[in-house]
Structure formats: C-alpha cells, structure tokens
C-alpha cells in the first residue's frame, strides 16, 4: 500500500466517468423505464376500461334483446288480431255479397216467372181466340171484337 500520483489520476477518471454516465447513460435508460411503466399503467387502465365497456355493452345487448322480443311478441299479437279482423270483415262482406246475389237471383226469378206467366197468358189468350175462332168460324171479326178479346185476356 504505497501512495503515489495514481491517486490523482483516479480522482479525475472517477469524475469523468460519473459525468459521462450522468450526461449520456442515466437519462435515456430512466426515460425508457418511466415510459414503459407508463405504458403498462395505460395498458392496465385500458384493459379496465375495456372490461367496463364490455360489461356495459353486454347489458345493453341484453336490454335490446329483451325489448326486441317484447316488440316482436306485440307485433305478433297485433298481426293475429288484424288477421282475425280481416277474416271477420271478409266473412261479413261475403255474407253481404251472398245476400245481394241471392236477392238479385230471387228478383230475376220473380221477373222470369212474371214474364213466363205473361207469355203463357198471351199464348192462352191466343189459344182461346183460336179455339173460339174454330168454334165460331167467320162469326167473329177479330177487329170488331178486339175489345172483348182483351177483356177476356185480362180476366185470365
């Protein structure tokens, strides 16, 4: 253990190395460490936020599902009601139509009947006149006795 001027050189080296580390080494490393710590913290916070958002979203989706189900059930009920109503209406309409058709048919039948009866009446009258003509032969003048013949026709 002998002392010599190596001591002074060592002091100088010591300070230069310390200065160098302070100037060029320490700040970037510490900065990287701090940044990484911040990144990790941010990541954890983001994960937490994501979790919360997921929870919220799942709640919202459950809600939406529920309301959707309700709405569709409501819609179905409405549709069923409407369908029943339409059927009822159609039935009523059909009934009215049928009644109308039946009434028309009845009226036509009546008219037909009336017309047939009229025709029959004419034919009978003609037949009666022909019969009478055959019986009376010349004695009866169709023109002279038209009034009488129509009176007979009315009575039939």
């Amino acid at each position: 253990m002998n002392l010599n001027s190596t001591l002074y050189a060592q002091i100088v080296v010591f300070f230069i190395l310390a200065w160098f580390t302070m100037r060029f080494v320490w700040p970037p490393i510490v900065k990287a460490l701090d940044e990484r710590a911040k990144k990790i913290a941010d990541g954890l916070a983001a994960a937490d936020r994501g979790k919360q958002e997921l929870e919220l979203a799942s709640k919202r989706s459950a809600e939406a599902l529920r309301t959707g189900k309700e709405k569709s059930a409501e819609l179905l009920a409405q549709t069923e009601k409407r369908v029943a109503q339409i059927i009822e209406e159609a039935k009523a309409q059909a009934r009215v139509e049928a009644d109308r058709v039946i009434a028309g048919a009845k009226a036509e039948i009546e008219q037909e009947t009336l017309r047939a009866r009229e025709g029959l009446r004419d034919q009978v009258a003609a037949l009666a006149v022909a019969g009478a003509e055959k019986i009376l032969r010349r004695e009866i003048d169709a023109r002279a006795h038209a009034e009488l013949l129509s009176a007979i026709k009315q009575d039939m």
Partner: protein, 294 residues
C-alpha cells in the same frame, strides 16, 4: 543480486513470487519503497481502471442509446435491473430530487466500475502477468522485471482516489445545500452544540469524521480486494509447490489448488459484488449526510 541468481537457478521462491505479483508496473520500474511518493505512477492500475471504466460507460452508453420502452432485450433488461436497484437506493437515501440527477448516475457508475475492476480478480492470477512477461521479454526487457497487477481496486491509490472523489462531492453538496456560511457554522456547532468553548472540539470532530469516512471508505474496498488477491496467490503457490516436491504430496497439493481455488473463487463472486455494492451504498449515505443539517 543474489536473489535473482537464485531465481535463475531454481525458479522463484514463494516469497519472490508473492513480492513479484504485488509489485506494480510503475514509473519506477521496480518496487516503490516509500509509503508516499507523488512522483510515481502505477501504469497497470491506470490502464486497467481506465480500460474497465471505458468498458463500463461504453456498455452503458450502448444500452442507453438503444433503450426502448417496449420489450427490452436481455442486456437492456439486465442493465435496467441494476439501474432500478441503484435508483431505488438513491431515492431511499437522498431526498433531494435535483441532487439525485447526478448522484444516482454516479452510484451506478461506481457500482458497475468497481464490480468490473473487482471481477479482474477472478481471472487466473498468473494469466495477464504472464502475458505481459512474454510481451516485455519479446520487446527486449527482462521478464523478471515485468510487473503487472490486474486488480485495480487492490491498489490503494485507486480506492482512495474514488473515496476522495466522494469526499469532494460531499463537500460540494454541503456548500450547495447549506450555503458556505451555513456549512462553516455547522462545522463549529455540531455535533456537541453551539457554544464558543465547544467550537474547537466540534471542528476537530467534524474533521475527524470526514477523514475517517473517506479513509475507511477507500481502505475497506482496498483491504478486501488486496486480501482476496493475496489469497489467490497463496492458492496458486500451493499448486506451484508440486514442482518442488517430487513425492506423494505433490499431486495432492495440485488437487488442493483446484479445490481451494474453486471455493475461493465462488466465494469471491459474492465478495466482489458485495464490496461494489457497499462502496456504492456508502457513497449514497455520505452524500445523503451532506444534505442533512444538524
């Protein structure tokens, strides 16, 4: 000289071996006999401390330049572990954020630098001195005078140099934090209290405190590393004794060197790390004390 002739004839005696290994490559070209001689430089200490210091800052600067806040590489992660350790210690001891900007990097440098210088002890004790002998001999010098000590921290100049550096930083922070007047006032009023009769005693105590801190700081590291180095030499001597002994004990001694060398080297891994850590912690503690007023 008689001893050198004996060396030439029979190889070095154990004493010669130890003395040779404990002699620095200095500007004297031989052993420094004076305790203090400011005209002398130890070239080996300067070379190894400077080389390892440059290696330290080179490696650290490389990591710092490529430092990413993303996924770190293995080396960056390793450096980060040390940086975090030093940073935590600095935060625990020095409660002055602005001072930490210098003191924490200082502690990091001290830790890694001293660790590397200590780690030179783990190289085979004869490896680098033998290579130097070869170079010195090849360039025309006398290999017997090719001295080389590779553990810079086993040189008191290196350790005291660093502890005096720490002392200067302590003085600087004393003045910076307390003001020059405040510090002088503290020198004369602490630790025993403010009284004119106590002032000389206070001052003497303060001077002793500074001296004791600094000297023990440097001496502790030096003593540990010097003793460790010496023990490696003694273990090497144990194996070397085989050459002298042709009987049964020779191979046993050689085996002894392997066993003892392994045990001591493994134990020394702890010591080199611990001593680097202790030096760093004491640096922080002393600078921390400079921030506290009594």
């Amino acid at each position: 000289m008689a001893t050198e002739e004996a060396i030439a004839a029979h190889g070095p005696t154990p004493g010669d071996y130890i003395v040779h290994h404990l002699t620095h490559l200095n500007s004297l070209g031989g052993r420094q006999t004076a305790i203090v001689d400011w005209t002398v430089f130890n070239f080996d200490t300067l070379f190894y401390s400077l080389a390892l210091g440059l290696l330290t800052v080179f490696l650290l600067a490389r990591v710092a330049r490529r430092a990413t806040s993303g996924v770190p590489g293995r080396f960056q992660a390793a450096v980060e572990i040390v940086v975090e350790m030093v940073s935590d210690q600095a935060k625990g001891i020095i409660h002055h954020a602005e001072s930490r900007l210098f003191v924490a990097p200082l502690a990091l440098t001290i830790f890694i630098w001293i660790f590397l210088m200590n780690a030179m002890d783990l190289l085979p004790v004869d490896l680098l001195p033998r290579i130097w002998q070869g170079i010195y001999g090849a360039s025309g010098g006398d290999p017997e005078h090719a001295y080389q000590r590779v553990v810079a921290t086993a040189d008191l100049n290196a350790t005291l140099g660093m502890s005096i550096g720490v002392l200067l930083i302590c003085l600087w922070y004393n003045v910076k934090i307390k003001g020059f007047g405040g510090w002088v006032h503290e020198l004369f009023s602490a630790p025993f209290g403010k009284h004119w009769a106590l002032a000389p005693i206070n001052f003497a105590m303060q001077i002793i405190e500074f001296a004791a801190k600094t000297i023990s700081h440097g001496m502790r590291l030096f003593g540990n590393m010097y003793a460790g180095e010496l023990l490696f030499m003694l273990i090497a001597l144990m194996g070397g004794a085989w050459v002298a002994d042709s009987g049964m004990t020779g191979p046993l001694l050689w085996l002894g060197q392997i066993v003892a060398g392994v045990i001591w080297a493994i134990f020394h891994i702890l010591i080199i790390t611990l001593q680097a850590f202790i030096f760093m912690m004491l640096t922080l503690v002393y600078i921390g004390q400079a921030h506290e007023s009594h």
